[in-house]
Symmetry: C2
Subunit: 378 residues, 2 copies
Amino acid sequence: MSEKGRRKSKTTEKVSPKEIAGRIEKSANAMVGQINKLQDPEFTTMQRGKSNVVWDEKKGYLELGEKEVTRTFLNIAHARKFMQTSMIMAKTQEYLNHNKTASIREIYYELKHTVADTKENTFEGQDESDPIIVDLEHSVDTIREKLNLHANPKGTLYGDITLLDRMHHNDKFNASKLGRGGWSIMSRVEPEEIEIVDSNAEYLLVAETEAIFERLIEEGYPKDNKCLLIGTGGQAARGTRRLIHRVHNELDLPTIVFTDGDPYGWYIYSVIKQGSMALAAHSEFMSVPEARYVGMTIDDVKEYKLEAVTERMTDGDIKRAKEMLAYPWFQNKEWQAQLNKALDQKIRIEQQALANKRLDFVATHYLPEKIKNKIFLP
Amino acid sequence: MSEKGRRKSKTTEKVSPKEIAGRIEKSANAMVGQINKLQDPEFTTMQRGKSNVVWDEKKGYLELGEKEVTRTFLNIAHARKFMQTSMIMAKTQEYLNHNKTASIREIYYELKHTVADTKENTFEGQDESDPIIVDLEHSVDTIREKLNLHANPKGTLYGDITLLDRMHHNDKFNASKLGRGGWSIMSRVEPEEIEIVDSNAEYLLVAETEAIFERLIEEGYPKDNKCLLIGTGGQAARGTRRLIHRVHNELDLPTIVFTDGDPYGWYIYSVIKQGSMALAAHSEFMSVPEARYVGMTIDDVKEYKLEAVTERMTDGDIKRAKEMLAYPWFQNKEWQAQLNKALDQKIRIEQQALANKRLDFVATHYLPEKIKNKIFLP
């Protein structure tokens, strides 16, 4: 492959597993020190939940605020959580030191046992271990991917981008040469392991449905339009959000998002762009504040004469649209207008409804025209 | 890549798109002939539903029986369906002639319109077009994939198998060289388009959860054990079932299935092996009667001391287990025993629960031991 004119990746963000393991060790040593001095050992993390989520307009994403929570071992209400926290700390450090990764379900199963000579289980369910993982992420200021933990994978990558997997025989492959299926995005795509080598693409298109992903490939859209394509299959998984974030930043590619024209689709866009309340602490690693929204919009219905193929909004759609009207990051006239139009007309419009014009319309007319003329929502 | 000693694919099953288009044309011509002779035009398909599903013990899969249904245009109760059937026939023939494919949602949207000078829509919802597609599949004795239709993709392929995509620059790629992510299985993987070239694998392992898929890759299991790995991500999608069927038959590979130890997981296995009632007509193209089940079983709980990491069966699990006890294809002593043990103890056991031994236990002990000693359920 000629490297001429290809966009090289510039990896900026690098925290080594060793460094993260070091932070865990430091925190653990502090506790041991406190215990040796017969002091009450402490563990400090960030307060979570809506009351500590901040919309940072300048950065363009949701952030966690400054409120901290400190747990002490001698407080009986904290003792169980303290035990669980130490176990998760020890185990993730072990993963980091041995280049192992685990799903958040696996670490739960790995650590679950009955404490000797008691009937007490270390963890009763994954709903006990998951929040501890989040505690630890915040405490050592990282994301779970860098603790070598991950959730389930979902999402597909296609287009002229070359990746290299350092943990798998240094495989180097180009995602435009895997037939029409594309590369299955892993649950963890950290730069220490998955390197973005280069790309000839001029932008990244993120599509909500796998059906549109397949349609655009069948029409040769990514090749003709020199773009990369990521299919999220609904709400983007963490691995997929990380990859979008990295492609955007490391290759300096504009990111354009294409979802169904309904509150659920618009919310998917906002999570990719500004982050979510649940993961506000990680926006820095996951969000793409510069992302733009190409469609579907309620205006498209009239513009492209799609009246016959709209659907009625469900009660859930209406409730969600009303909530979104109030979110600070939807406080701009374009999105307020869009949400209000949807609520007035009580309609939604799917990406695949463009097939009503012609199967290839989305690839030959809709996307090229809107993208060329920059008909985006912010 | 040295081709020496590699297992070559022998494609046996080949029906050309032209042949399928010809069958549709023949059926349409017959109707036109009837109309020209002022006869009542007819369309014949197979009766569906439980009452026409047959368990063929010799073939080892579920089949559709012999009961036919004939629709006539002059019967007012059939007129709407007749119109819809002609539209789907014309459109799928167009797809076949122009090498286009569409999702079943797209064809619905493409055909939906208001009939001129009326307020009547051709289709009110996809729940009207989907059954017509099934009618047509049965009428021309094929599967929707060969009508160039497909549902959503899901599932991932990993391992030393070389595929070739004739519809995409003849891309030839090996699914062991795509890093740890693997190849995202398309919604349609028909032999005319996706060719299985060869493989060095000795068997195919199908895993229910994507988490176990990632675990086995991280442990180097497929390489060390010379196997291919397919992750289904829950119930296997049609494209994934087709690929399992083809890999099994064309490469002559034993197929071993690995799911959670609960009625849902066991049902996933039975659908891969014997087919489902809903798709009984297509077992010939999708099922793998020779598949074997490696785990998880209720016996594993004791054998591997997993008592601390079982879960309680839900009401849904119990209901499903009782139904499965009665299915003809579960009438063997091994599965009856398994289902009864689950119902007696009211427990289930997940694949990932093996992490309780050690993360790599599944790859270093559980699977190699059970597979080597052929500790399978039928």
